[in-house]
Structure formats: C-alpha cells, structure tokens
C-alpha cells in the first residue's frame, strides 16, 4: 500500500506540474496551447478576477495581446496570481511564460534576477494616499513627518520610502506587510496615516476602499516606476514577441487603428497601415518572430490598441479614471513611443 501511494504521488507529481520548459518558450506555448501569465493577485484595473472569475485589467490585456499574437485568440491564456515575493521565482523556474504584474524595471532586477523587461507599458511613480477626513490639514507628502506609513515589503516602494524620508530629514513609522491584502486592510482599519505605493496602485486601491471619496492621493511623486512585462533571460525570440506586441499596440493607436475600425482600416491605402497589419503582398512582418503575418490584426481585433486598453481598464472609461499623463503617445507629449514596425 505504501508503494502504491508513492507510485500514485509520483504519477501525480509528473502530471500535475513537473514539466520541463525548454529554451524555446514559443514552442512550449504553442505545444500547450496557451500562454501562462503571471499577474497580480487582485489589483483593480490592472489584474483582478471579476464576479464570474474571469481575469480583467490592464496587465491582463497585455497577456491577452501576446496570446492573440501567438494564437490569434486572446482567450488562450491561463493566469497565475503571484505576490510580490514569488513573482520572480515563478518566472525564473518557468512556471509562467510572461510576468505582467506592474513590476518596476530596475537595473538590479535586469542583472541579478535572470529576467529581462520587454518594455514599459505604464510609466508610474510612487505616491502617498491619506484619509482626508481624518487628516484634513495634510496636502503634501512633506507634511508626513512622524506619520505611520503602510507599505508592502519586498518592493522598490519600501526602499524609495526610506530614501525619501531620509533625504528630507523626516521621521516615520513603517508598518510593513508581506501581502497586498494585509497592507490594504491595515490602512483601511486606520493603523497607518498614509499608504504608499505606485500612484496607479493607489488609484486602484482607493476604489476598493469602503468610502473612496474620503481618500486623496497627495501630489508628490517620489520615484520613477516604469512598469512593464518581463520574460526569462536567454530566449530572444519570446522576448521579441512580447516586446513587439507592446509596440504593436502603441503603433496601432498612433495609426488610429482600433478594434472597431479594423475592418475599415483593412481597406486603407496607407502603406504604413497596410505594412503593420501585414496586408502587403510579400509581407514578412510575422516571420522573424515566428508568428503569422496578421499578428497585429489579431492583437487589435481581440484586445484593441494601447489607448483602448488604457481607457477601458484604468483610464477615462473605467472607475479609476487615471489621466494618460506620461502614458500619452509621444505625439501628444507623453512617453509612449513605439519602435517602427517595418
């Protein structure tokens, strides 16, 4: 019976998970039929399951766009909710193919964690949120000296916070939690005066509080937090696919191609639009990536362009209502700039 049990467990182990990922992520992904995407455990607007259990959000749409590029079907994604601690391990070990979990691109992460950032899908910065009804006099982060501040550990946020207060000769009392939910709960319960994380996270969090109107985000942004999708080092093909998926979304917005006018655009005479959509006779825009030539079409049709995704999840069309700001196209004074698709 003992042996029997061991045998069963061994079998379960093999079929449950112990799969060997080879260097060619694209082949693996195609073989299993879906993209395994690491997302946040639940950050409104970026990645959160809705009531039916389907994941939606800005980061989720990044995963969906990659799936659309590879399979022509944005639903060919499986999600792995990850917390701040395990996100890198999950990617390193091959548990996930792509990490789209508002992760800040830093030098040490690029060099010591075995991962590569494929681009920036959201330019963010760290801010503070306070409860205005409890602290009516506070309107600047410089007034926070002596405050108790809730922060999630293991993040760049925690380090920026220490640097900011040290640089401004202010004191504070850190209230540190490992998990996102615990940190939120402590802030909501009044354990801290202020909450700090990326500004986007603050807006998302504010929505989930019982009385969102009581809380305000202070104007100071104390750090640069370029958030982007990351892949494992050492697989340039997969890296290119993710990178160019992001660029394709931005490019589509630049060219005015949306999921709604895609059919119209297919008949466009503009050589650039025809090239990007893979409509040229001898088109090769998918070949080098190992994809079909209509991969940009698939992304736009299934997910939409960058602007649509932004508005739908976190922008004007969503409860978060975050302004485009730095994330506007470069043509509108923002930083989103796609390398040319040609």
């Amino acid at each position: 019976m003992k042996k029997f049990m061991v045998g069963i467990l061994g079998g379960a182990a093999l079929s449950l998970g112990a799969t060997a990922a080879s260097a060619a992520t694209l082949d693996d992904v195609k073989a299993k039929g879906f993209v395994q995407c690491g997302v946040h455990t639940g950050l409104a607007g970026f990645a959160a399951p809705d009531d039916a259990g389907d994941w939606t959000g800005f980061d989720v749409d990044m995963c969906r766009a990659v799936a659309a590029a590879v399979f022509g079907d944005a639903d060919a994604v499986q999600y792995t909710p990850t917390n701040a601690t395990e996100r890198f391990t999950a990617l390193q070990s091959g548990e996930i193919d792509l990490l789209a979990r508002n992760t800040t691109w830093t030098l040490t992460r690029d060099t010591t964690l075995g991962l590569t950032f494929a681009g920036v899908n959201y330019y963010d910065g760290q801010g503070f949120m306070i409860n205005q009804t409890k602290l009516p006099d506070i309107n600047s982060a410089m007034q926070l000296s002596g405050a108790a501040i809730c922060v999630q550990s293991g993040t760049t946020t925690e380090l920026n916070l220490a640097d900011y207060f040290a640089a401004n000769n202010m004191e504070y009392n850190p209230v540190v939690f490992q998990g996102f939910d615990e940190t939120n709960a402590a802030y909501e319960a009044g354990r801290c005066d202020a909450y700090t994380t990326d500004a986007s996270g603050l807006y998302a969090l504010r929505l989930t509080l019982a009385n969102p109107d009581e809380h305000v985000v202070l104007p100071e942004i104390i750090s640069k937090e370029p958030l982007g999708p990351a892949v494992r080092q050492g697989d340039d093909q997969w890296f290119n696919i993710v990178k160019w998926t992001l660029y394709a979304m931005i490019q589509a917005e630049e060219l005015g191609i949306t999921s709604e006018n895609l059919e119209e655009m297919m008949t466009s005479e503009s050589p650039e639009i025809r090239r990007v959509l893979g409509l040229e006779d001898e088109s090769t825009i998918g070949q080098g990536l190992g994809l079909e030539n209509d991969w940009v079409q698939a992304i736009v049709r299934e997910v939409g362009n960058y602007g649509e995704v932004f508005d739908r999840n976190i922008g004007s069309g969503s409860p978060l209502a975050i302004a485009r700001g730095l994330n506007a196209l470069w043509t509108d004074g923002g930083l989103q700039y796609a390398m040319p698709i040609r």
Binding site: A84, T85, F88, T89, Q92, T111, T112, L113, G114, K134, L135, L144, S145, G146, A147, A148, S153, G154, T155, E158, L159, L161, A162, D163, F165, A166, Y172, N173, P174, V175, V176, F177, Q178, E182, A185, A186, A189, G190, R191, D193, Q233, G234
Partner: protein
Amino acid sequence: MASQMSVRAEEPAQVSWVNDPKTRGIVVQVVVAVALIGFIYWIIGNTAENLRRANIASGFGFLSGRAGFDLSQSMIPYSSNSTFLRAITVGLLNTMLVAITGIITATIVGFLIGLGRLSRNWLIGRICTVYVEVFRNIPPLLVIFFWYVGVLAVLPGPRQSVDLPFGGMINNRGFYMPRIIAEPGFWLVPAAFALAVVALIGIVVWARRRQMATGQTFPTVRVGLALLIGLPVIAFLITGSPATIEYPEMAGFSLQGGWVVRPEFLSLYLALSLYTASFIAEIARAGVLGVAKGQSEASYSLGISPRRTLRLVVVPQALRIIIPPLTSQYLNLTKNSSLAIAVGYADLVAIGQTTMNQTGQAIEVVAIWIVVYLGLSLLTSAFMNWYNAKMALVER
C-alpha cells in the same frame, strides 16, 4: 532433523556472506550513503547551474550591504543605512522578545487554567474547559488575525486615545505607557535591586540549611519580597528621586514619548500566549492527575498542611511529568512566533523574507533561518533538560 542440527552446530561459519546481517548492514549503509551523497551533489550542481544562469549572486557577502529599508520595531539602533546583518539581528532580537514574553505568559495562564479545570468549583472548571477546547482547535494564525483585527477595529484613532490609569494611553497605534528617564545617580536603584537578589539567594540557602539541621522554617517569601521591593525604593529615596517620568503626549500624527507597545507585537504576543496556554493547561492537568492520590493522602496523614502538600509533594512529582511536553510547547511557541509575518511584526522570518526579496539570495536566508531556529531550539532544550535533570527523581 536431529542430524541436521548437529551438522549445523559443527559448522557455524557456513553462512553465505549474502545472508550475514553484518555484511548486509554495511552494504545497505554504503548504498544509502552513496545515493544520498549523489543526490546532494546533483542538487548542488543544479542549484549552482540555476544560480549562474539566472545571474543570482551567492555567498554571505550581502550581509554587509546596506539594507535600505526601515523597520517598525527595533531594540537596537537601526536605520535604513544599517547593514542586512544588523537588520537580521534586529529580527532575531524581536523573535526572542516575543518568544520569551509569550512563554512566561503562556506558562502562567496555562497553569492557572489547567488547575482551574481540576478545581472542584464547577463553574470555574467549565469556563476553563471551554477555553481549552476553543483555543486548542483553532489554527494559531487565525487567533493572531482575530486579535489583530479585533484590536484594530475596537481601538480608536490616535486623536481619540483612551486614557488609562497612571498616565497610560491606548489607541490603534499602540499601547503607550509612561517611561522612566534615568538621571545621574539612578544607577544605585538597579544596583540595590541586584544586591537584594544576591541577599535573597543567600537567605534561601541559609534557610534551607537551617531547616535541614533544626527543622525550623523561615518566612523566605515575605522577607524576599520585602528585600526586592524595599531596597530599590530606599535607594531611590536616598539618592533624592533621580528620575523623571515621560508621559505620552499628542504631537503631530500620533502620541509621542513614553514607552509604546505596537499592536502588531500585542496581537502576536496575546495570540501565541493564549493559544499555547491551552496546551500547557492540558499538560499541567495531566501532570497533577499523574501524581498518585496516595502521595497527597500520605502527606496529609503526616500532618502536612494542604498548601505545603501541594508545594512539597504534588508539584515536584507533577513537574517530572510536565517538563518534557512543556519543553516541546515552548519550542512550538518559539517556532510559531514566525507567524509574525502575517501581522507585519518585524521578526526573523519577516526581515529574512524582505532581505530575500531585495537581494534574491533565498538559499542564504533560509540557511540563516535554519541555523538560528535550530540554535534557539537547542538552547531551550538544553535549559529544560538541565531543569528536568534537577527535578528528576533522585534514587538513593
């Protein structure tokens, strides 16, 4: 049959080496050892390869690097400019703080509850039984959360702090108490206390000898208390009260000054104490029940008073039964203090995990955990074994 037996008896060395238990034992051991060493070698090889591929540094060099994060509670000076080593030391001290205070409280509460269950008082017995059955069957993590959520939800914000006697205050940022600030000359007070302790030990030894020799008893407890309290108070008054008391006051966001216990510590400490107390209660009860009834009856028949019977006859024998399981409860409490991570108390595991995140050096951090916790376990075991040996039955 008989002839076979006699043949065997004549040739005892005829056993094939395959069936010789000694040879088989050696072969089995060699095989297992080789397999284990091979397995470890394989793991080390894989790990080295993985680390190299992922470009993760290895070694303990990171410990001298700048930590960069702040901590909410520290018993030694610490800032974000301190090293990782110092951060981990802070964590270790915090772990020990909550473990030691928790062990003391759990022991007191546990023994009270355990004896309460044995009490002839029906109501007290019922209350204690309910306590034990509730706490023993709930995960400690849930108890911690309950205290944390309960404490935070009930307590008011810093601006509506509740006043407590003696200038203490409580709000959802912590439990504030006045702090004694020493001035020059104050050192005499602790010195007097130390003197009282030394004197007390002397008195105990002398009183025991005298009792052995003459049978006369000495009121050690009363004299001891008088010494312990009296001497420091006298020293304090003689030196002209060289201390001021700092009261917590509202300033800025919260109360400033005084001595503060944070809710994170409080909830962890309360949860661990009350959870472990339910187990200690059962151990204490079993210990007392384990002493044969004849022992106390014999003691009564010798004319020894019930209180003395408890102290001199029942408790020493019960302790022999109690100490081994009590030790493992103490170890459990120490290990359970790692649940601090759930409420954000900066213990060894929480700080270790932050370090792990900031440096990516998981193996080194886990190694530190193992060494430290094993060390703490061994220390506790060693102390309790010493105490156990002291209490053990001395057979003449």
